[in-house]
Point group: C2
């Protein structure tokens, strides 16, 4: 089977006054926000494992009351199926990988390799925490943005070294695995930085030849294509979000 795998249905971003769409028996439901990198992790795993699903998008600045009955924290991603609910991105992804062990298996079956992969995912916090700092910081605050860029480079170097050492195309081997999909959402957003604010926030990638090859290969992955958003639209969304009027449905209306 090849080609892009879409969810069976996808709603606009629901807000107070909406009704929770009726559950389709036997179908996995993902509560999502189109631009949330954590929810994208779960979406990538659903697509990679070709698990039929429906997507209910949630307006995260004005959440519908009924959503808290699913997830008391009110966050996305959240999975619902057979009256059961699971949230937290890594927990949902590991769950899906365990209950749908059919190809491809994303976590390694070797416990040591699996532990190393989980450590790598933790270390990616250096990149994702600093990306959000850059989204929010003013260019006048030079020490903050310079520090954040140094932090991102430190993080990227860990992944460059690891990938070069493994001598494989993806962290998962011949195909993307759990590390690839867990870090992708923020890698997809990195090129939005110079569009969003200024060329000086561009993260120069020339010292990361393995990661650049990885990035290009990931963009061709079917699961990545399913949820891919262009750097221009990521920048447009962040701009609208920071202005207090997030254009959640931008990608749905197109």
């Amino acid at each position: 089977m090849s080609g892009v795998f879409f969810p069976i249905s996808e709603t606009k971003h629901l807000a107070p006054g909406s009704t929770c769409p009726e559950v389709t028996p036997g179908l996995m439901r993902l509560y999502n926000m189109k631009f949330c990198p954590y929810a994208q992790r779960t979406r990538l795993v659903l697509a990679a494992k070709r698990i039929p699903n429906e997507v209910v998008n949630i307006n995260l600045v004005a959440k519908p009351d009924w959503y808290f009955a699913r997830n008391p924290l009110g966050k996305v991603p959240c999975l619902e199926f057979d009256g059961k609910v699971i949230f937290e991105s890594l927990i949902t992804c590991d769950y899906l990988d365990e209950v749908y062990p059919s190809s491809p298996m994303l976590n390694s079956t070797d416990p040591f390799r699996k532990a190393q992969d989980r450590i790598l995912i933790e270390m990616f916090n250096a990149v994702n925490s600093n990306l959000y700092k850059l989204y929010r910081c003013s260019l006048d605050d030079e020490s903050t943005w310079k520090g954040a860029i140094v932090g991102i480079h430190k993080g990227l170097q860990i992944f460059e070294d690891d990938l070069a050492k493994r001598e494989i195309q993806f962290f998962g081997g011949q195909n993307p695995g759990i590390v690839d999909y867990m870090i992708w959402p923020w890698m997809e957003r990195l090129p939005s930085l110079p569009i969003l604010s200024h060329e000086m926030l561009k993260v120069q990638m020339e010292n990361y030849p393995s990661l650049v090859k990885w990035f290009d290969a990931m963009k061709e992955d079917d699961a990545v294509k399913e949820s891919f958003i262009s750097p221009e639209n990521h920048a447009k969304f962040i701009t609208s979000f920071l202005a207090g009027n997030p254009e959640y449905d931008m990608e749905i209306n197109k």
Copy 2:
């Protein structure tokens, strides 16, 4: 087999100028700090699963250089065995549970129960983050300590409700499981608060009858006994730590 299970050997807290003790082939080594709640998680799992191990304690305010060759982050816990290294408390614990599946298995073999347990462990952050706030805050800063105590009660209520709903002694069932051991280190430290500073920081437990019973049962567990430190000594350590002169070896010299 019953009775308290000790590690085979345990060093004082090693600092710069020390030499890394030679590795014992085939023996699991834990890099630890006697009062670190995260490292205690791993220690509890080693003891619960009766995995023979040696403990090398690390002075965390003055770390020996050689330690960074094991863990580039310089944190504990860290496991070393057969030239391999794993760190991050939850990752070390899950790894041990996977490679030593002999009784007792701490994670549920049901993927949904396992996911629910991982969510519960995440939710315990409400308790552990606020405990450390209380350790550090001044009693003059009333809004901070009152807010932290409210946060702890919110967290405890989640666990009380969950335990009452399960109608079992431990979160793991008849015996402690992964949730029990992952939250225990901070539960052990809660009674140190009123000793450390003031009776008003005492976390009143009368609204948590299931948790109180759980607490008493946990104190009788062999794995808990192995690393148990009294509220008095926790308070003494925190006092020395906040004064800039942590008494790391207090429990080893006794």
